[in-house]
Structure formats: structure tokens, C-alpha cells
Symmetry: C2
Subunit: 289 residues, 2 copies
């Protein structure tokens, strides 16, 4: 059961966007798909939803390829930055269109969400601000009967209140009717408590495929006098470092050495998911395009 | 000394965007300008930079009106979402144009920042992704010789690493060469430690004009059994509430009653700036436009 991404490669001309990606999504889980700008996250989500086609490889849902398979594609929904909706159409009409396409749509919930977010169902899509376009797409994503919902930058242009409202509604909706969500966002701190499992994409490859709890259990910040910190973290997997005068902080990802004594002046604390992500992916590369 | 915004009103047709706004910016401070989507923040920054004109009122810099005054406007810089740059121009050429306009430009620092962010000076503006357009504009904002720099949504499209790099560079640049920054952002959590003073704009009016420390010193979350929390917070300024079964959390902004005994089962904790903002501005209104 679930989605399997098998050996997906995607090239645009000579440029390799995704290189031999393998991953699996189980039913009823919440995943985070993280990566730097240009890492290939959106391309991957578009391939998983059959909106663009891979150069090699396949995406299977319950062991059946999704490619050009309407029955399988009806179980997936991708909310993306791209605005595919006709500008003249009203919100209410677009809900109806979605219902026709997906065979069902949670209209009472859509109505409730429109009220909560302050979105008028009479408004035309083309008249909505960036924030309200996002809100419209989020409402559709929460109300379609898809078993796998992919959210690409779901909070673009949302103010703090609307973000909090969205996170709350997502968790409530998930609680009442479990299904799989994949959330791709740059505001990692705010989703860290919701996601159970994380994929980090780096330069078109999967760098990390792990449960969040398991990852964070091996993410440490070691601080203290520079020499003591250097000695204590020698041979460990130091993924980043910061200095402040004679003080040093080394970010370690992996096991500590339990045989090693911790000097009194050295502190060990935890890293949160956003910090861990930053240090795992901190190599600066030029990728304007 | 400083900027004075005096009785600024702005109407578009019959719609009042800003209503009689008064505020003052001192030299060498970092301000946050916060507000819901559509509250009027961008309009205010545009008026302060004389890019759009108020219906009533004036903006003074060191007691001289900025309107159509090139000498005064040369001391201000607005980085906004709008892309005013010719698409064919290269980054390097745009730096030169800025230098001509402002009479000076910190070229060595711009070069260093291009390296740190991975922005090629040969790239044409029109070829840059959303994230790299933001990066380009941030670099200009940090390198112009303006005494007052207004940053409207400075982290739009930036991944977590680039956001952290920007915050660090902003603080270093400010430390070396103090000047005034006004940061308008929806990602409040990440700037809360940098800003000293905050303006919250709500429906075209200034709702809050206060130092961050002073605000947070009177921002509390009172949690415990619903009846105990209700009794303890009675008569206090409760700005929000959350429930979990029989437990309740009341967000209080203002003085607590020190004469009142705190029941053992009731906990008092602090609210961070983003939470405080959310609860101060939580009235849901429809403002698609």
C-alpha cells in the first residue's frame, strides 16, 4: 500500500534536475519535503502527480503506475504555486468544478473554511490577492477526497494568523479523516511538530529519508571554550560551526562518543529541525535560473 | 532628528487604506512593521518613500518634508516586492546604476554578499528566480548609503539558509554602521530578536506603537482547569483563548492582578511576539481585493 517513487530521473536538456530518486509514502502519514531553492522539490511533486513526466523511472500508487491512469490520479491532489484557475471564475464555481473532477468534495467543510479565512465564495479567482489565492487552494486541498495530498509552499503570502489557522485545520482534518499529506515549505520551524517523516532533497538527490524524532535524537549543539569543544567533537560528524570570541558551537549530527568525558565548561543541547536542515544543506551553490 | 509621519491618510477612491497615521522613527534603530494581509503596511512604506502620495498629511525627515525632495529621498531606501529593474540588465550594471543614483554604494560588501548568497554578478535580472530577485534587492538594500532602509517582505522566496544568512548580515552591517531599518514581514518569529520597537497596523490604523521588551513584559499565557483560569483572568485583558478538553489557556495582554492568588493548578507563562501579534489581530475580516 502507498506510493512508491522508483528510480525517477528528470532532465531538462542536459541539466539533471532529479537523479535516480527512490522513496515511499505510506497511507495516513504526514511527510515533510524539504530542500534549498532549486533542489528539485517542485519537480518531484509534479512528477508524482503526473503533471510532468520523468525522463526515467515510475511512480506507483498501490503498485499501479499513476501515469495517465485517471483512477489512480483521482486519489492524488497537488496544490502548487501555479495558478491553473480561470481568472473570471468565482470561488463557488471552482469548488463545483473540483467536485465534478474528483467525484466528491466536502462542501460543508469548504463553506466553514471560507468563513474562517474570510474568503467570499462570490469572489472571482483573478481578483484574489496572493494570500487569498493560497487560501483558496488550501481549502480545495483540504476538501478534495484524495488519499494523498501534496502541498507545495502552502503558506505563501499568508499572514501569521492565517498560517496558524491553516496548521490547526490541517491537523483537525487529518485527525477526523486520516490521509497522507506531503508538505513542502521553507518555514520549517512552523511545521516541525506536524510532520512525522522528512525527505530532504539536495541537488536532485535524496539526502535524508528519516523519521523526524529519529533525526532530532541525533542532532546536537556542543558549546563552550573553542579548544574544549574541538577536543570533545573530534571525529564526530560536525555539520556546522559558529564562533563568538573564544567560544565555539559545533553542530553534530550522529552519535556522540559516550566513552568521552564531557568537560564542565562544555554544554550539550538540542538542535531543532530548521537548524538541522540549515546545517545539513549549507553548502552555498549558485543556482540562479 | 528622525522621520515623522504626520497625520497620513490615504484613500483609493472611497476606500480608506490609511486613516490618520502618526509615528516617529529615530536614527539607528531597528523597527518591525507588522500587520495582517491588507492592513496597509506596504502603502505606508510607499508613502514614506514618496513613491505614492498621501491624500492628507506629510512625511518629514529631520523636520524637512520628503515629498519631491531629492536630498531627503537620497537618505531613504525602500526594498519592495515590486520589481522595478529592467529585465535585460545584469546584476553588476544594476549595482552601478544604484551607485549613480545614490552617489555611493558599498561595492566591496556587495561583492562579498554576492559570493555568500551565490548570486552571479553576470546574471540578468529577468533570469533570476523569485528567491534570487529577493537576494539581489537585499544586497542593494544593505549596500546603499541610506540612513533609513525600509524592507517590505525581505525574505519572500528565501530558503531557511538564505534567511539565516540575511539576518546575520543585517545585524553585522547594522553593528558596523548603525542606521535605521524598518522590517515588514509575516515571519515574525524569525525577526523578533532583532527588532527593538514594533508598529502594528490594523485596518489602516496604528494599533500598537511600543518597544518589543515592554510589550512582551505584559504578554502572558494562563493555563489550567477551565474554571480556575476563568476565575484568575476575570477582568484582565484576555485577547485570545484556547481549549483542550477541560483545560483552558487564556492569552492576557496587560497587567496581571497581583492581589489575586494563583491557584496551584494554574500556570503562567510568556507569549512570544508572533503569538502576541496573532491574538492582537485575530478578528477575521474578508479582504480579498
Amino acid at each position: 500500500m502507498g506510493i512508491k517513487v522508483e528510480r525517477i530521473t528528470k532532465k531538462f536538456g542536459k541539466k539533471v534536475i532529479l537523479a535516480d530518486i527512490n522513496l515511499a509514502l505510506e497511507p495516513n502519514r504526514i511527510y515533510g519535503l524539504l530542500g534549498r531553492n532549486g533542489a528539485g522539490k517542485s519537480t518531484l511533486l509534479n512528477i508524482m502527480s503526473d503533471r510532468i513526466f520523468p525522463t526515467k523511472g515510475a511512480v506507483l500508487l498501490d503498485d499501479v503506475p499513476v501515469h495517465e491512469n485517471d483512477a489512480q490520479l483521482g486519489k492524488l491532489y497537488l496544490m502548487s504555486e501555479v495558478n491553473l484557475y480561470p481568472k473570471r471564475s468565482r470561488v463557488r464555481e471552482l469548488f463545483k468544478t473540483t467536485k465534478t473532477m474528483y467525484g466528491n468534495f466536502n462542501e460543508p467543510y469548504a463553506e466553514k473554511l471560507c468563513g474562517a479565512f474570510g474568503l467570499s465564495q462570490k469572489a472571482r479567482f483573478g481578483q484574489l490577492s496572493t494570500g487569498y489565492r493560497t487560501i483558496f487552494k488550501l481549502i480545495v486541498a483540504l476538501c478534495v477526497p484524495a488519499d494523498y495530498v501534496f502541498l507545495d509552499e502552502p503558506i505563501l503570502g499568508l499572514d501569521a494568523n492565517h498560517r496558524e489557522l491553516f496548521y490547526r485545520e490541517l491537523m483537525e482534518s487529518y485527525g477526523e479523516h486520516p490521509r497522507t499529506f506531503v508538505i513542502s515549505t521553507h518555514i520549517i520551524e512552523e511545521v516541525a511538530n506536524m510532520i512525522e517523516h522528512v525527505f530532504i532533497v539536495e541537488n536532485g538527490k535524496i539526502l535524508i529519508d528519516d523519521d523526524v524524532d529519529h533525526m532530532l535524537a541525533q542532532a546536537y549543539l556542543i558549546t563552550g571554550p573553542a579548544d574544549k569543544v574541538a577536543a570533545y567533537t573530534q571525529g564526530l560528524n560536525v555539520i556546522g560551526t559558529e564562533s563568538l570570541g573564544n567560544l565555539k558551537g559545533n553542530y553534530v549530527f550522529g552519535e556522540l562518543n559516550n566513552d568521552r568525558e564531557i568537560p564542565d565548561t562544555v554544554q550539550i543541547s538540542r538542535m531543532d529541525l530548521q537548524k538541522l536542515f540549515i546545517h545539513l544543506t549549507s553548502e552555498e551553490v549558485s543556482h540562479e535560473d
